[in-house]
């Protein structure tokens, strides 16, 4: 107990407190001005907006992947199952370089897309792609155990009670998975908001267009504007905290309704 608390304090709480203290060096007006400056707002909008969009895409595609991995037996299933973890394991800078090479105007995917007039690398679309890449395992790994635990007999039961396939999915399967899906969404979102390494290579980093908030923090730090950096950091921290709190509530809600059998 004592060890847990002191360890948590040293590792997490003290640095966070330091962050808040640093931002207190700013007067409220200064704090407000930094946050409402065009560049900060745009960076936050890029980070949170694209992260949310990427998390939504991951929610849908992750569910499809989970369904295939859990319900079907096909050759190479174990391999695909392992591949899901690659974004977890890969150093983010490596992922960033790989994605950039792939989507650059001369890249394998970049070239045909460029011919279609779609530019991915060095645009917000690139950020979006990188965020999808790093977020997908969060959805898959949260939903997979819950779906595995879901007895296929409940689908047969729904069918024999007269439910159509669509009704079975919307009234039985999705509600059973809902807590896990929401948790996966929130985790993928939180990860994408904070992502730095894989995004900065592909983003192009144009201020106001494809500059993410974490990068802006680094830029401010390199300009020795520490207070500015911490102000942005505090906003990200608060938002992340709210998300984690929501995830916790969701999990508790899920457990209270659906305890382990």
């Amino acid at each position: 107990m004592g060890l847990t608390l002191s360890w948590l304090s040293v590792i997490i709480l003290i640095p966070l407190a330091g962050l808040f203290l640093k931002s207190l060096e700013l007067s409220p007006e200064q704090f407000w001005n930094i946050l409402t400056s065009r560049r900060t707002l745009n960076a936050l909008r890029v980070s949170f907006g694209l992260a949310f969009a990427a998390a939504c895409v991951n929610l849908v595609m992750g569910s499809v992947i989970v369904w295939a991995l859990v319900r079907y037996r096909f050759p190479g299933r174990r391999l695909f199952d392992a591949i899901v973890d690659v974004p977890f394991a890969l150093p983010t800078a490596v992922a960033g370089v790989a994605l950039t090479a792939l989507f650059a105007e001369k890249g394998w995917l970049g070239a045909p897309l460029a011919a279609l007039g779609v530019k991915v690398a060095f645009t917000p679309v690139g950020i979006f792609v990188a965020m999808i890449f790093i977020g997908i395992p969060f959805v898959v790994r949260t939903v997979q155990p819950v779906l595995q635990d879901l007895d296929p007999e409940i689908e047969e039961a729904a069918g024999s009670l007269g439910a159509s396939r669509w009704q079975t999915i919307t009234r039985v399967i999705l509600p059973s998975l809902a807590p896990a899906l929401l948790t996966g969404l929130a985790l993928a979102f939180a990860r994408a908001v904070g992502e730095y390494g894989s995004v900065i290579f592909i983003a192009g980093n144009l201020p106001n267009v494809s500059e993410i908030a974490p990068l802006l923090i680094v830029i401010r730090l390199s300009e020795f504007r520490y207070a500015d950096a911490t102000a942005i950091a505090v906003v990200m921290l608060v938002v992340s905290f709210v998300i984690i709190f929501a995830v916790n509530r969701l999990q508790r809600w899920a457990q209270s309704r659906i305890p382990a059998r």
């Binding site: 069918g159 024999s160 809902a178 309704r257 659906i258």
Partner: protein, 344 residues
């Protein structure tokens, strides 16, 4: 509603789950499909429900071809061994599910649905649980809710797959009696699958004994117990002494010893002699068809179970009344009160 199954065949890979099954169930019957695991009884039930498809044969429900319909159109109530309740729904919503997913044209209004669910929860005597979630119920309660849910759609027939298989012995016994009286009340044509002979004999009007994808015998509980049609049925239902014998010219031999038993109509050749354990009467040495030494005696409720080493070399177990004095080491005579001989 009648159910008729004709020459049903189903294989899983090289395993023959059903090997030409014919069965007719009359309206209002409560039929037990009884057999060991792997005998095909659950497969048969699932095919009737539309949850599995046969490789050949016909299924008629009330004279109509059921194989032309999916599970959804068959209007069959199915109760699963592990309940298969919807865990994110309250008990009330579980029971209401079948009514809520009906096509809009025939769907009842909310008040009617509520009244119907209330009525079903009353029927299974669990109306006080309607706001709970399945995870908060005991196994017996869950199974009764699963039954109420299946009955909500007013099924033409009711199919139960090992409905009490996951419950402990005491709850099982209660639910058995309860199921029989419930069937008496609602009188819907029902088939239930079980591997528990006691359950089949106690609950069903008619018992279908299955083995290796085939039906061995169809009859009343008395029939299958008193006059088993095959060696398998005799061995599976009730506890039996089983001895390999030779029948030659009307004489029954155990090893090379002729037994003082009439062969009846038994065909000559290698055969099996079956005697119920409690039909072996104990007497003084030389008094019966068999003779043997008592090796072990245990009291077993109303009877004592004794292990007897027959002089032919086989060891058998018999049930004798408690007041019969049996001591380890005694030599006794044994005379079967009733016996049956099957070829094979």
């Amino acid at each position: 509603m009648t159910i008729e199954v004709k020459n049903l065949v189903k294989t899983f890979g090289s395993f023959k789950a059903l090997d030409g099954v014919d069965l007719k169930v009359d309206s209002g019957e409560l039929v037990a499909l009884l057999g060991p695991s792997g005998s095909g009884k659950t497969t048969l039930l699932r095919i009737i429900a539309g949850l599995d498809w046969p490789d050949g044969g016909d299924v008629l429900i009330n004279g109509e071809d059921a194989l032309a319909q999916g599970a959804r159109e068959r209007h069959v109530g199915f109760v699963f061994q592990h309940y298969a309740l919807f865990r994110h729904m309250s008990v009330f919503e579980n029971v209401a599910f079948g009514l809520r997913v009906q096509p809009r044209a025939v769907r009842k209004d909310e008040a009617t649905i509520r009244a119907r669910v209330k009525e079903l929860l009353d029927l299974v005597q669990l109306d006080w649980l309607s706001d709970r979630y399945p995870s908060q119920l005991s196994g017996g309660q869950r199974q009764r809710i699963a039954l109420a849910r299946a009955l909500a759609i007013e099924p033409r027939i009711l199919l139960l797959d090992e409905p009490f298989g996951a419950l402990d012995a005491k709850v099982r016994k209660e639910l058995r009696r309860w199921l029989r009286s419930l069937h008496h009340e609602i009188n819907v044509t029902s088939i239930f699958v079980t591997h528990d002979q006691e359950e089949a004999l106690e609950v069903a009007n008619r018992v279908v004994v299955m083995d290796k994808g085939r039906i061995e015998q169809i009859g009343s509980p008395d029939d299958v117990y008193e006059t088993p049609a095959s060696a398998f049925v005799h061995g599976f239902i009730g506890e039996s002494v089983e001895l390999p014998v030779q029948v030659e010219g009307g004489v029954v031999r155990l090893g090379d010893r002729p037994l003082a038993l009439a062969a009846g109509g038994a065909a000559p050749g290698a055969s099996k002699l079956f005697v119920r354990r409690h039909d072996m009467l104990v007497g003084p040495p030389g008094s019966g068809a068999f003779e043997g030494a008592v090796q072990h005696v245990r009291n077993f409720g109303p009877v004592q179970r004794a292990e007897i080493a027959l002089s032919g070399g086989k060891t058998i177990e018999i049930d004798a009344p408690r007041d019969k004095e049996l001591r380890v080491g005694d030599t006794i005579g044994l005379q079967p009160r009733r016996y049956r001989i099957f070829a094979g």
